[in-house]
Symmetry: C2
Subunit: 219 residues, 2 copies
Amino acid sequence: MGVRTLTIRENILAANREKAESIRQLLDSRRILMVNIMSSPGSGKTSLIMQTINRLRDKYRIAVIEGDVASSIDTDKIIRQNVPAVQINTGGGCHLHAQMIKQALDKLDLDGIDLIFIENVGNLICTADFDLGAHKNAVILSIPEGDDKPFKYPVMFVEADVVLVNKVDVMPHFDFKLDGFPAIIGGLNPSARVFTISAKTGEGIDDWVSWIEATLTRT
Amino acid sequence: MGVRTLTIRENILAANREKAESIRQLLDSRRILMVNIMSSPGSGKTSLIMQTINRLRDKYRIAVIEGDVASSIDTDKIIRQNVPAVQINTGGGCHLHAQMIKQALDKLDLDGIDLIFIENVGNLICTADFDLGAHKNAVILSIPEGDDKPFKYPVMFVEADVVLVNKVDVMPHFDFKLDGFPAIIGGLNPSARVFTISAKTGEGIDDWVSWIEATLTRT
């Protein structure tokens, strides 16, 4: 990239941060917690959100903002659970940005909401650069992807508040060294929480849900 | 994005295409086949390349260009197989572009090479937009990622010459509907070849290797 392209990129990121900050202020004024969930395609973002909805829907009012390059497959799944969901299609774009989130929030009745999940586009790189106005960033890495991914895609893991290791139900069939994984994350990001889960079977979801509830209490 | 940003993007893509075309001419003049391998993180790009090297190393001279955001984990694996490999670290960038490939080719002794694999950065979106001067584009989707990914990330699948469905050894543990998958790809991209493989066990690799050899013969 030339200097001019870099400058334009910096301007884009600065404008995005400003928009994100105004979103966070809006949510704070209404005591809404927003959590941004990121991962590669197919790591289990939708399944995690569905499990979390099932555990918390009787206590909190939840909404979901679904980001995808194309399709509304995941939004349709959420809406079938009678949870409000807004679809964002990026039309080729590889991440969400704050202005898209603002437009999605405008379509939700915020008076009725305690907790919003953003399901970001499936991408372990570009999504890390864009502050969406969420209070917390959660990254999912699934067992089949391999335990070397934090070294290959470090920014995502450095900036995460929570790292969820998903699909632990298929551990016996893959070479993921789970014992050493918290130390890998700790080396990159000592303050990140690590939860080991199966969004399919529900294993480990309680710890994640407890963390969400504790975070909601502090909102 | 504003009009100015779009124009700059178009200029970047046009300059990239020009560079890619000059790379293809260079490779054609030396009768070298170059194949660009793309997927999400952890879908099995390195494992596929290692399996292919094992099958073809006695008949053809092979080299690998390894793209990663950070680390040289995969290049180290390839070099341990006594195959020449050049590492490209994008330092945060989410895809390779043609100029990076030109610089990598300059580090290889092309006189000794028949076949080059590019292992692109793990990303099912951005990598699809940049022609690298390869003759063929192969996309890997692994069983744990799910069979809905072509709808969510269509560009990658529309532009592929080959789609490899990897990790078929773990099929019983996931909900991937393999029977209907060729029709999904066929709907997006009727000319794409679909191979079902396990880069771990070697299942199905023969068909892929036969396709590579047939393509080499036409080079």
